[in-house]
C-alpha cells in the first residue's frame, strides 16, 4: 500500500509538473521580448521553483484552514497568507469581487 501510494504520488507530481511546465512556458513565451531566448533548463528551474512555492502555499493554506476549524480552504486563508503583501491582497480582493458576481451567476 505504501508503495502504491508512493507511486501515485510520484506520478501525480510528474504530471503536475508537466502541466505546470506547459503553463509556465506559455507565460514565458508571452513575457519575454523578441530577441531573448530561453533554454529548457530555465523552464525546468521555473517549474521547480513554482512547484515548491505552490506546495508550500498549499501547506500553509491547509494549516490555516485547519486552525480555523474548517476542512476546506477558503478565501480567508488566502488573505491571511497574503497579509504581508498588501498590494497583492488588494489585487486579489478586487478580482474576487469581479469574479464573485460571475460565480454567482454561474451557480445560478
Amino acid at each position: 500500500m505504501e508503495e502504491s501510494d508512493q507511486e501515485y504520488r510520484r506520478k501525480l507530481v510528474t504530471q503536475l509538473k508537466g502541466k505546470l511546465w506547459y503553463c509556465l512556458e506559455q507565460q514565458v513565451k508571452k513575457e519575454l521580448p523578441e530577441s531573448v531566448n530561453y533554454s529548457p533548463k530555465f523552464i525546468n528551474a521555473l517549474v521547480e521553483l513554482c512547484f515548491t512555492q505552490l506546495v508550500d502555499i498549499g501547506n500553509d493554506l491547509e494549516a490555516f484552514a485547519r486552525h480555523a476549524g474548517r476542512e476546506t480552504i477558503g478565501v480567508e486563508d488566502l488573505m491571511l497568507m497574503l497579509r504581508k503583501s498588501h498590494d497583492l491582497q488588494e489585487l486579489l480582493r478586487q478580482k474576487l469581487e469581479q469574479d464573485q458576481p460571475a460565480a454567482r451567476s454561474a451557480k445560478r
Binding site: 501525480l12 510528474t14 507565460q27 525546468n44 512555492q53 489585487l91
Partner: protein, 1037 residues
C-alpha cells in the same frame, strides 16, 4: 582539431613586439586530442589529469628578401678551383649557401676557403649588400684577409678592413664598400651607433665561433641584427664548437644555426688531405727528489689535513693527493655561506686556504718540476713568515705548516738542487731534451718545434733547459701574452711599509730621504738585472717572462720564428688558437689541459702541409685528465651527430624558384690582388688593405690628385624596425586603441566620443575635463573631489527627477527602478565614474550604520531615501573589476569600472576604524555563514527544498534530466493537443499573477477531451480523482 594560430611566443618579450616588423612569420598550430580519462570505481573522473594531448607545431616561414638580387648571377654559384677541390669543402659550401651553419672541421683543413667561396657568391648575387667577416683578434683578421682576397678575386676597391681604432671615416666606409674584415666589437659598436644599417648585411662569417656564448660580441651582434633583418646568411667557423652539449646548443641558439657540419681527423674525407700525425703520449714518472719533496710536504700538512677532515671541510685523502681546486671551491662556498658564525668561518677558511696552497705546490711539483714549485713555495713562505713575524697575521693554521721543521729540510734540499744549473727540475725536461735531440737529427732548415705549457715560469724553464743543451740547431724563444708578470712578494718592501713610523717631523724627513734613496737603488738594481739578463743567450726570453710581451714583440718573435732565427717556440696558451705560426713538425705538450678544445687546438698546429709529430708529456694525474677530456669530446661528436640538438630554420634568401647550379671556375686574380698573396707580415697586409680601402693605393697610378672630399656629417641614425610610428606618443592615447580583426591585423578601435552632459551642475568642472583622458581614472580621485553627503543629496534629488531614465535593456528585473541613476548612458565617461563611485560609497555608509552598533556619533545620513539591496555587490573597485559580469547583472546592465565600490582609501578607513567584531563586512562577497549568528541555523523546509532542487539541477544527475524530459514531454503533448484551443475565453479577465485563462484552458481542454462527466475540476478535492484525471494520457481521443 586546430586551435588558434597566432604569433609564437618566444622567450624574449621584446622579440615579440618586434617580430611583426621582421621578415619572418611564425605559425603555431596547436593540435589537441582528447585522451581517455581515468575514473574510479564510482565513475568519477580522477583529478589532476590532463584531458587532452596537445601538440604544438611551429612553422617559420620567411618572406622574400629585401636585398636587391642580381638576377643574371643568381642562376649559378661559383666554386673556385684555384686549389684542389676537396669533397668536404664542396659539400659544405653548397649547404652553407642556403642555411646558416657551423663548420666544425679540424684546424688547417680549409675553413677559410669555404668562407671565401660563400662570401664570393653572396657578393655576386646581391647588387650592393654588405658582407662581413669577423674574427676575435686583429692578427686573425689580417690572416683571413690575405686568404680571402687571394682566393676570391673580390676587387679590393670594394673591400675594407676596419681594424684601426679611429672612427674617422667609418660612416663613409660602411656606406661605400661591400666586403668588410673586422673584429666583432667594431661591428657591434657601429650597429649600435647607427653608423651601419643592419638591413644592408647579407652575409656574416664568424671565425672561432665557439666564442659565441654568454654576452660575447658575436652574440650581441646577432641579436641586434635579428631585430631588423632576417635575410642574412651566417657562416660559423671553428675547430671545436664547444666542450659539452649545452655549450653547443647555446652557440646554435645564439647564432640561429640550422645545421652543424662536423668533421674530425678520423673522418675519411678529411683525413685524406691531412698529413700523417704521429701522436705519442708519454707518461713521465716522477723523479726521486720530487717524490721525496712530496712526502715531506705531506708530513708538514698532515695535521692540518686531519683537522680539516675532522671538521668535515675536506674529504680524506692521502696528503699527496690534495686537490687545490677542490679546496678553493670549498673555501669559496664557505665564505658565501651566511649561516656559519664568523669565528668558525674564518678559521675554516684559513684551513682550506692552506690546503689549496699546498695543493698548488704539489701540482707544480708533479707537473712542472722543482723550479716552479720552489718559486711558488718560497714566495708563499716568505710572505707568511714576514707577516706573521710582524704580528700582522694570526693565522695559526698556516703557522703550524710554515714553521714546521720539516719545511726547513725542504728548503734546504731545494736550494741545494737548484744551485746546480744543470739540474733538471722535472723528468719531463729530460724527455724534452731527448725529443729535441731526435728532432735535430732529422731536421731541415725549415723545421720548427712548438712546446706548449700553461705556466710562464715553466716556459722559461724549458727555454733555459733547451739552451743548456748548447746546440746551435736549437734556438728557443718564449712566446707569452701581454700581461705583466705577477710580482713576487717583496719582504723588504713589506717590512718597511709596516714598520711603526715615527710621527715627528724629523722622522718624516728622514723617511722621505730614505725612500728616495731606495728608489734610486731599486732602479739601478733593475738595470743591472736587465743587463745581466740580456747578456745571456736566453736574455730576451727572460726579460719577456718578467715583463710580458706586447703585440709588437710578439710579432717580432713570430717573424723571427718564421724566418728561422728561432726554431723552437715555447708558448703558453696564447699560441694555441688562431695565430698563423705556419707549419711545425713537432709539437710537445709539456702539460695537458682539462679542456679538450685547447688540446685539440694545440694539436692542430701540425699535420697540415707536412707530416707532423705530437708528443704529450703526462705525469701525476695528467694521463687520467687527458683521457677524460678526450672522451668527453668524442662523446660530444657523437651527440652532435645524433641530432639531439635543436636547430633554428634559416632564411633561404634566394627565392625558392631560383636554384643556382655550380660553376667551377678558376679565379684569375688581378696583379694588385696578387700582391697581397706575396705579403707575409700581417701588419703589412693590414697596411695594404687599409690603403686600398682609403684609395691611397691608386695614387701612384692616378696622377690627378683626388680632391679632398669634405665628408658631411651624417645624422646619427637609430635603426627602427619597419612600420613603426616614431615620435612621442602619450600612453593614454594608445590605451585601448587597437584591437585585431580576424586576420590578426591591427585595427583601430573607435572610441565613441563621450558626450558631455551638463545636467549636473556641480559636476561641470569634472565633465569639462578632457574627454580624451583615459577611461580608467585612478581610484583615489573621485573620493577626493566631493563630499559624499553633498553627492548623495544631489543624487537623491536627481533620482526623483530622472525616474524615467533609461532602463537597462536585457535585465527584466524588478530592481531597474533603483538603478536608473547609475545606468544613465549619456553621462560622459569621466562624470560617470564620479557620479557612481561616490554615491554608492555613501550608500555603503548608509548601510553600514545599521550594522555598526556603536557608532552613533556619526552624523547618520538620513537623506537617503532609497534602500538598496546590496547583497552581493562587491564592495571594492578591484573586486568589481574582476567579477564584473556577476555583480553587474544583478543590478545594472553596464558597469564602468568604479561604480558602486569602495575606493582603496575608503576601504582603508574602514579597516582602520572598525574591526570584524562590529560585524562590518567589507568582503566582496559577504560570508554570511561565518560572520553572522543566523548563518548557523538550518533552512526552513521550503528553502531547503528549493536549495535541494537547484543543487540537483546544477549537478546534472540522470534522474533530474529524466524528470525534466518527462515534464517537457507532457507539456509538449498538451501543446499539441491543445493547439486548436488557443484562444482563451473572454469572460475571464487576465490577471497578473495567475492567468485564469491558462488554467481554465488546461482544465478546459482536459474537460473537452475527457468524458463530460468529470468536467468541473474545481469541485474536485479528492486526490485520487485528481490523480485519475491527471494520469490519463489523453489517448482516449
Amino acid at each position: 582539431m586546430h586551435s588558434a594560430e597566432g604569433d609564437s611566443f618566444s622567450d624574449d618579450d621584446l622579440e615579440n613586439f618586434l617580430e611583426n616588423n621582421v621578415n619572418r612569420s611564425v605559425e603555431q598550430t596547436v593540435s589537441r586530442r582528447s585522451i581517455p580519462q581515468q575514473r574510479d570505481l564510482f565513475g568519477k573522473v580522477l583529478s589532476n589529469q590532463k584531458a587532452f594531448y596537445e601538440e604544438v607545431h611551429t612553422e617559420v616561414t620567411y618572406g622574400p628578401t629585401h636585398h636587391q638580387l642580381d638576377m643574371d648571377q643568381v642562376g649559378t654559384y661559383i666554386y673556385p678551383t684555384n686549389y684542389e677541390i676537396r669533397e668536404y669543402q664542396f659539400e659544405i659550401v653548397k649547404r652553407a649557401l642556403f642555411e646558416n651553419l657551423i663548420c666544425a672541421i679540424p684546424t688547417g683543413t680549409g675553413k677559410t676557403f669555404i668562407a671565401s667561396a660563400v662570401m664570393l657568391n653572396f657578393y655576386r648575387w646581391t647588387k650592393d649588400a654588405k658582407i662581413i667577416f669577423t674574427a676575435p683578434t686583429r692578427p686573425l683578421v689580417a690572416q683571413q684577409i690575405k686568404a680571402c682576397l687571394g682566393v676570391t678575386g673580390i676587387p679590393h676597391s670594394d673591400t675594407a678592413i676596419l681594424l684601426d681604432k679611429s672612427r674617422k671615416n667609418r660612416v663613409e666606409i660602411w656606406a661605400s664598400k661591400r666586403v668588410f674584415f673586422t673584429t666583432p666589437q667594431v661591428v657591434e659598436n657601429d650597429l649600435k651607433r647607427g653608423v651601419l644599417n643592419p638591413k644592408d648585411i647579407v652575409c656574416m662569417v664568424i671565425d672561432e665561433a665557439h666564442r659565441a656564448r654568454g654576452s660575447y660580441s658575436y652574440v650581441e651582434v646577432t641579436k641586434f641584427l635579428d631585430r631588423f633583418n632576417t635575410s642574412y646568411r651566417l657562416l660559423a667557423l671553428t675547430a671545436t664548437p664547444a666542450a659539452d652539449l649545452e655549450g653547443v646548443q647555446e652557440v646554435v641558439h645564439n647564432l640561429n644555426i640550422s645545421r652543424i657540419e662536423l668533421r674530425t681527423e678520423e673522418d675519411a674525407d678529411v683525413s685524406r688531405y691531412m698529413k700523417k700525425r704521429d701522436k705519442e703520449e708519454i707518461e713521465v714518472p716522477l723523479s726521486a727528489e720530487i717524490e721525496d719533496l712530496i712526502e715531506q710536504l705531506g708530513v708538514a700538512v698532515t695535521p692540518v689535513l686531519k683537522e680539516a677532515v675532522e671538521l668535515g671541510l675536506y674529504d680524506d685523502c692521502p696528503p699527496a693527493q690534495i686537490n687545490a681546486f677542490v679546496a678553493l671551491q670549498k673555501s669559496q662556498k664557505l665564505v658565501a655561506n651566511p649561516t656559519i658564525p664568523e669565528g668558525v668561518k674564518w678559521r675554516n677558511f684559513f684551513i682550506l686556504q692552506l690546503l689549496s696552497h699546498v695543493g698548488h705546490m704539489l701540482k707544480r711539483l708533479k707537473i712542472y718540476g722543482i723550479h716552479s714549485f720552489y718559486k711558488y713555495f718560497e714566495n708563499k713562505h716568505k710572505e707568511f713568515t714576514t707577516k706573521y713575524g710582524m704580528g700582522k697575521s694570526t693565522n695559526k693554521t698556516a703557522a703550524s705548516f710554515f714553521y714546521n721543521p720539516i719545511l726547513k729540510n725542504v728548503i734546504r734540499t731545494c736550494e741545494k738542487l737548484l744551485a746546480n744549473p744543470g739540474f733538471l727540475g722535472h723528468r719531463k725536461l729530460e724527455y724534452v731534451q731527448e725529443e729535441l735531440k731526435r728532432f735535430v737529427q732529422e731536421c731541415q732548415p725549415t723545421s720548427r718545434v712548438i712546446v706548449f705549457t700553461e705556466l710562464r715560469e715553466s716556459a722559461l724553464e724549458i727555454v733555459k733547459c733547451i739552451d743548456m743543451m748548447q746546440t746551435n740547431d736549437l734556438r728557443p724563444h718564449i712566446f707569452i701574452g701581454q700581461a705583466r708578470g705577477k710580482e713576487g712578494f717583496d719582504d723588504e718592501e713589506y717590512t718597511r711599509k709596516h714598520k711603526p713610523k715615527g710621527r715627528k717631523k724629523t722622522d718624516r724627513l728622514r723617511r722621505l730621504e730614505e725612500e728616495k734613496e731606495r728608489e734610486e737603488k731599486k732602479k739601478q738594481n733593475k738595470e743591472r738585472d736587465r743587463l745581466n739578463r740580456m747578456s745571456s743567450r736566453t736574455g730576451t726570453s727572460e726579460e719577456a717572462q718578467v715583463t710580458g710581451m706586447n703585440q709588437k714583440q710578439q710579432k717580432d718573435v713570430l717573424q723571427k720564428f718564421k724566418d728561422g732565427i728561432y726554431n723552437v717556440l715555447v708558448c703558453t696558451s696564447i699560441g694555441e688558437e688562431g695565430l698563423d705560426i705556419g707549419e711545425v713538425d713537432l709539437i710537445i705538450c709539456y702539460d695537458s689541459t682539462g679542456s679538450p678544445i685547447k688540446n685539440i687546438q694545440r694539436m692542430g698546429r701540425t699535420g697540415r702541409k707536412r707530416d707532423g709529430r705530437i708528443t704529450l708529456l703526462l705525469s701525476g694525474s695528467e694521463p687520467k685528465k687527458f683521457a677524460q677530456a678526450m672522451d668527453d669530446y668524442a662523446e660530444l661528436q657523437r651527440i652532435v651527430g645524433r641530432n639531439s640538438l635543436e636547430y633554428r630554420p634559416s632564411d633561404r634568401i634566394l627565392p625558392i624558384s631560383v636554384a643556382p647550379i655550380c660553376e667551377k671556375k678558376f679565379i684569375c686574380i688581378g696583379e694588385e690582388e696578387d700582391e697581397l698573396n706575396n705579403m707575409d707580415d700581417s701588419d703589412d697586409v693590414i697596411k695594404f688593405a687599409t690603403q686600398a680601402m682609403t684609395g691611397k693605393l691608386n695614387i701612384k697610378k692616378n696622377k690627378s690628385s683626388r680632391a679632398k672630399k669634405k665628408v658631411e656629417k651624417t645624422a646619427k641614425a637609430f635603426f627602427m624596425p619597419d612600420n613603426v610610428e616614431t615620435g612621442i606618443v602619450p600612453a593614454s592615447s594608445m590605451v585601448n586603441k587597437f584591437g585585431s580583426d580576424i586576420n590578426g591585423n591591427k585595427i583601430k578601435l573607435e572610441r565613441p566620443e563621450p558626450q558631455v552632459d551638463l545636467r549636473y551642475a556641480l559636476l561641470d568642472d569634472i565633465a569639462l575635463e578632457s574627454p580624451a583622458s583615459s577611461p580608467i581614472k585612478p581610484e583615489t580621485e573621485p573620493s577626493c573631489r566631493l563630499e559624499p553627503f553633498e553627492m548623495s543629496s544631489i543624487l537623491a534629488r536627481h533620482r526623483k527627477a530622472t525616474k524615467n531614465g533609461d532602463t537597462s535593456e536585457a535585465m527584466g528585473t524588478v530592481e531597474t527602478g533603483y538603478t536608473s541613476v547609475f545606468s544613465d548612458q549619456p553621462v560622459s565617461d569621466s562624470k560617470r565614474t564620479q557620479s557612481s563611485t561616490t554615491p554608492t560609497n555613501s550608500l555603503d555608509e548608509a548601510d553600514l550604520p545599521s550594522k555598526r552598533p556603536r557608532i552613533s556619533g556619526e552624523a547618520a545620513p538620513t537623506t537617503y531615501a532609497f534602500k538598496t539591496e546590496n547583497v552581493g555587490i562587491p564592495l571594492t573597485a578591484k573586486s568589481q573589476e574582476s567579477s564584473g559580469p556577476n555583480g553587474s547583472q544583478v543590478y545594472k546592465n553596464e558597469f564602468h569600472k568604479l561604480d558602486g565600490l569602495l575606493s582603496s582609501q575608503e576601504r582603508q578607513y574602514f579597516q582602520d576604524n572598525y574591526s570584524a567584531l562590529c560585524r562590518v563586512c567589507i568582503e566582496p562577497v559577504p560570508n554570511f555563514r561565518e560572520n553572522v549568528k543566523t548563518g548557523h541555523l538550518p533552512h526552513s523546509q521550503k528553502t531547503g527544498r528549493l536549495i535541494e532542487a537547484f543543487k540537483n539541477m546544477t549537478t546534472n544527475t540522470k534522474e533530474i534530466i529524466l524528470a525534466m524530459s518527462s515534464y517537457k514531454a507532457i507539456a509538449a503533448q498538451l501543446e499539441n493537443n491543445a493547439r486548436p484551443l488557443v484562444e482563451p475565453k473572454e469572460r475571464f479577465p487576465p490577471s497578473i499573477v495567475v492567468q485564469d485563462s491558462d488554467v481554465r484552458y488546461i482544465t478546459g481542454s482536459a474537460c473537452k477531451q475527457m468524458s463530460p462527466g468529470s468536467c468541473d475540476v474545481r469541485n474536485r478535492t479528492n486526490d485520487a480523482d485528481l490523480s485519475d484525471f491527471l494520469d490519463s494520457d489523453f489517448s482516449d481521443l
